[in-house]
């Protein structure tokens, strides 16, 4: 038993320890009648009887099953839950294409200021000048970084930015009397690209990558015709490789009256180095929760501003931020606009954070890009003797290996990823891009020190060795987490998507058991 535990911990694990972890049930299981965590100031107007005011048919007594707990219990509950998460604040988060960089704390501070967090989207422009200036300043910064001409900050996330971009393309083509039905998408693209094209009402045609992982320009030439509205390209691609022939690709599309859309998910490789507006891109989106450091928060919120060349500007979604005679205002009606994408104009609080990030760097943003690319190449150089590198093209901000070598011992990318958890790291992106079977997609970002990169490299090398000498150890990982691999099949077959009050017995004792006795997971 002791030996087994020691083996699982492994001498190679230097970043993480095994510490006590607090158990915690669901908040509903802690509830007891008449406990409370919130008290209101006394009502300073006459009370009103809800049944009389709303009518008995509309009145509700109480919300069945709602929790009743005290303040300390709420604080402990969520604090305990928080300790079960990995986070950038704990260490490297090498998820490829996700750009998990440091989220500066001053950004959180300014987004919460009175006079910023407190502002209502419908308040008159006379008392919103500060908000409008924040938006305008951010727009100008994003235009300079991308080399584009005009901007909307409205889209709530990258996927909505993609939709916005495709609707702009459609509106422009329609204004030219050219209804087209097809959007081309490389086989290496993120899943949102085809999903968005469908929602925008387009047919998706996939185009293959060539042997170097680049868009196959010859194939593109043979496919593009007068029915193609646009090509959606991610540059650098999801392989972390710059599209060498991007300018030529733009020319091919333009010659057929089609437009070039760029998914800006990988802009962290380019900021300060090269600008999409300078290599033929007509419309693009940025993910402020990637390149511009706004926190992912466990899955959102983000923001997906869209940047366009001048000829698309008349079609921007409302509200449009306009500057006339030095006065800023939001224009809510525009005849040529694609319409409105969401209520109230945008995830303003996210925009505030992105601007704070940009102001912190100024022109020095280039240094962040350089460090991000240096980190990726450093990791590539130090792991390429241990993992298969299917595409040898120069890496930018991320590097994609495959599990081809480890597969021989029955160890796949997911196993390696799960074992990485034992070493104190969040896994890289697994099994994406789809063009690399068994992909290990690693994006360190500029936020990692040499020390953290070295720890990561050591961990990956150690796992590569384990895959040779003790594949079972890797295949059954993680071993040091609160819980082991979860039964996803049952979760999907018999979905339990909410808590319900126990009808007969209390929750089973297993729910409250000791976290992760190592013997139960190890198969040696």
């Amino acid at each position: 038993m002791k030996d087994a535990a020691k083996k699982i911990v492994s001498d190679g694990i230097r970043k993480a320890g095994r510490n006590v972890s607090q158990n915690e049930g669901l908040i509903f299981e802690k509830s007891a009648p008449h406990k409370r965590a919130f008290e209101l100031p006394p009502l300073d107007v006459p009370a009103v009887d809800p049944s009389a005011a709303l009518g008995a048919a509309h009145a509700r007594e109480s919300v069945e099953g709602f929790p009743e707990v005290s303040e300390i219990e709420v604080v402990r509950h969520f604090t305990r839950l928080s300790t079960w998460n990995y986070a950038i604040d704990l260490g490297m988060y090498p998820l490829g294409s996700c750009t998990m960089k440091y989220n500066p704390r001053v950004n959180e501070f300014v987004a919460r200021l009175d006079g910023i967090a407190t502002e209502h989207p419908y308040q008159p422009a006379e008392v919103s000048l500060g908000c409008l200036k924040i938006m305008r300043t951010l727009e100008k910064c994003l235009l300079e970084i991308t080399g584009m001409d005009a901007c909307t900050l409205e889209p709530a996330a990258g996927a909505q930015g993609e939709l916005c971009g495709l609707l702009l393309i459609r509106a422009y083509l329609q204004s030219k009397g050219s209804a087209r039905r097809t959007v081309l998408i490389p086989d290496s693209a993120h899943g949102t690209n085809p999903a968005t094209a469908t929602i925008a009402g387009y047919e998706v045609q996939s185009i293959r990558s060539d042997a170097a992982g680049q868009i196959d320009v010859e194939a593109l030439k043979s496919i593009v015709n007068d029915d193609v509205a646009a090509l959606m390209v991610t540059n650098p691609s999801t392989l972390g490789v710059f599209e060498q022939r991007i300018a030529e690709i733009a020319e091919i599309l333009h010659a057929h009256g089609a437009l070039l859309y760029m998914d800006g998910a990988n802009m962290n490789a380019l900021a300060g180095i090269a600008r999409p507006g300078d290599f033929g891109v007509d419309v693009m989106h940025l993910n402020l929760h990637k390149t511009f450091s706004t926190p992912h928060g466990g899955g959102g919120p983000g923001a997906g501003p869209v940047l366009v060349k001048n000829f698309l500007e008349p079609f921007l979604p409302v509200p449009v931020l306009v500057e006339k005679d030095g006065r800023l205002s939001l224009e809510t009606h525009r005849r040529t606009s694609i319409g409105r994408l969401r209520a109230f104009g945008g995830n303003f609080g996210v925009l505030v954070r992105a601007l704070a990030y940009t102001l912190a760097y100024g022109p020095g943003m280039r240094q962040a890009t350089e460090d991000a690319v240096l980190n990726a190449n450093y990791i590539r150089r130090n792991l390429e003797d241990f993992y298969d590198l299917p595409y040898k093209s120069p890496s930018m901000h991320e590097v994609v290996f495959s599990d081809a070598r480890q597969k021989k011992n029955g160890v796949n990318t997911m196993d390696i990823a799960k074992r990485l958890i034992d070493y104190g790291f969040h896994p890289y992106t697994t099994a994406f891009p789809l063009i690399v079977p068994g992909a290990l997609m690693i994006e360190p970002t500029e936020s990692e020190s040499k020390e953290e990169c070295d720890l990561f490299i050591d961990a990956m090398r150690s796992i590569a060795a384990e895959a040779e000498t003790n594949p079972e150890l890797v295949k059954t990982a993680p071993h040091n987490t609160r819980i082991g691999r979860l039964d996803e099949v049952t979760a999907a077959r018999k979905p339990i998507l909410r808590w319900r009050p126990a009808t007969s017995a209390a929750p089973s004792p297993s729910d409250l058991s000791e976290p992760n006795p190592p013997s139960s997971r190890s198969s040696e």
């Binding site: 919300v63 604080v75 899943g191 290599f279 979860l486 909410r498």
Partner: protein, 448 residues
């Protein structure tokens, strides 16, 4: 630069390790003519203190010191400092989407609790992990209804938030959804006779809001009967979630699309907030967005995973139920913490205070000569008032008294140019309500 953790000599050592003589070498894969041959022209760099000063200066150009009676989908409510304390924990703030369940149980369990709270509030069986906001949730509910019924015609209340209707139009027109709008009556509720006449066997969904844009509650059971008679679905949009503390939930609806901003999220000039879709269990495979589900590990321990991902874009690509990827997870966490703090009794008391304050304000304003409260239907914390003249003009004068007056309805409802939407929540002191009524009296008594 303070965010970058490398010394010059470490950079040098790393460059050497990769075999590059200089950093430029690493960018040679970008064709030279495409490279930016100059420094970016950006403001900055700024120290932390300068950033704070810059944003404080912007804050001073906004509405500090004004009393606002605006609602219309974004509400001022009390927020406990506990909520922000939790949100600022790095383990929540700086974590990614919980795809790696073993080290994301905190986020996953919190989502599971969020889904449960949303079901309890709305009277529905399942809820998702969040949508971008109430407007996109309502639109996604419409798309979901179209998929479920195989129909493309929507019947939409004119008393649904005008901007929600605009979003619906933007999404709908590209995929062949059409919408017919149904007027409101003197009660401020949807005209049920016109609705019944409009719904037929081509109708995918009837879409209403309750409390509606005018603050008036709709008769949800009756609307459900009208929709269901033609096998159409009823979608109910809720923008003011606090109402559900004392208002019967739209349990007869097939899909509820809710904005949760009222639960612990600052107005923040329009976002970020979190929308949510709640529905019947039998509809989950057509539901958009992430879902957390309960399961066990090999040792039988309870845990949570993202589940039913075969609906989603990263698996299904162009066949997905929606293109949504990044959602509003941290905002959903804010709602979860906030609602756990409020609890059963707190939510009810909060709703009762809103009801009482708004009724008090309505009575005060109704006493102002020339002011009328036109709609007769039941309402919660928002109501329409009619001025003897343009609402916009009256508001301009109120601004001099540091009062942000009722939202003018004219831009959306040409027949309501003298009308404004007033919202009063628990945050508004009685003295400010009285000051508003007095100031409005003076404005209306004064010269045009």
């Amino acid at each position: 630069m303070r965010y970058l953790p490398k010394s010059p000599s470490e950079r040098q050592a790393m460059l050497q390790s990769v075999g590059a003589g200089s950093i430029e070498k690493l960018f040679e894969s970008i064709p030279a003519p495409l490279r930016l041959g100059r420094a970016l022209d950006l403001p900055g760099p700024m120290s932390e203190a300068e950033i704070i000063a810059w944003f404080q200066a912007r804050a001073a150009e906004n509405s500090l010191g004004y009393s606002s009676f605006l609602g219309a989908g974004v509400y001022n409510h009390l927020r406990s400092v506990v909520t922000d304390t939790i949100l600022l924990r790095g383990e929540f703030l700086t974590s990614y989407t919980p795809y790696q369940a073993e080290i994301s149980q905190g986020t996953l369990q919190a989502i599971f609790e969020f889904q449960t709270l949303m079901c309890q509030l709305t009277g529905q069986e399942v809820a998702n992990a969040s949508m971008w906001d109430g407007s996109t949730a309502t639109t996604e509910a419409a798309l979901m209804a179209a998929r479920l019924t195989g129909r493309t015609r929507l019947v939409v209340a004119r008393s649904l938030h005008p901007e929600y209707r605009q979003v619906l139009a933007t999404y709908g027109r590209n995929i062949g959804l059409t919408a017919e709008e149904i007027p409101y009556t003197a009660s401020g509720q949807i005209d049920t006779a016109r609705l019944a006449a409009a719904v037929n066997d081509e109708t995918a969904a009837v879409i209403v809001q309750s409390p509606n844009f005018f603050g008036v509650l709709e008769e949800v059971p009756e609307l459900a009967e009208i929709a269901h008679a033609c096998k159409a679905l009823l979608v109910v949009s809720v923008t003011e979630g606090v109402s559900l503390g004392i208002v019967r939930p739209p349990a007869e609806a097939d899909i509820v699309a809710m904005e949760t901003q009222s639960f612990g999220m600052a107005p923040s000039f329009g976002g970020p907030y979190a929308g949510v879709i709640a529905t019947r269990e039998r509809f989950i495979r057509q539901m958009p967005g992430r879902l957390a589900g309960q399961t066990t590990d090999a040792a039988g321990r309870r845990g949570f995973v993202l589940t039913l991902a075969t609906r989603e874009q990263h698996i299904r690509r162009e066949k997905a139920t929606s293109n949504i990827c990044t959602n509003q997870a941290l905002c959903a966490l804010a709602a979860t913490v906030h609602l756990c703090l409020l609890g059963k009794e707190g939510l009810r008391e909060l709703a009762l205070q809103n009801l009482a304050k708004a009724r008090f304000a309505a009575a005060e304003l109704a006493r102002v000569p020339g002011v009328r409260i036109p709609f007769t239907g039941p309402w919660f914390n928002e109501f329409v008032i009619e001025f003897p003249r343009s609402a916009r003009m009256a508001n301009r004068r109120l601004l001099d008294d540091k009062i942000i007056g009722p939202l003018p309805l004219g831009p959306w409802y040409p027949e309501l140019t003298k009308h404004g939407l007033v919202c009063v929540t628990e945050t508004m002191p009685r003295a400010e309500i009285e000051r508003f009524a007095t100031a409005l009296g003076a404005v209306l008594a004064g010269p045009l």
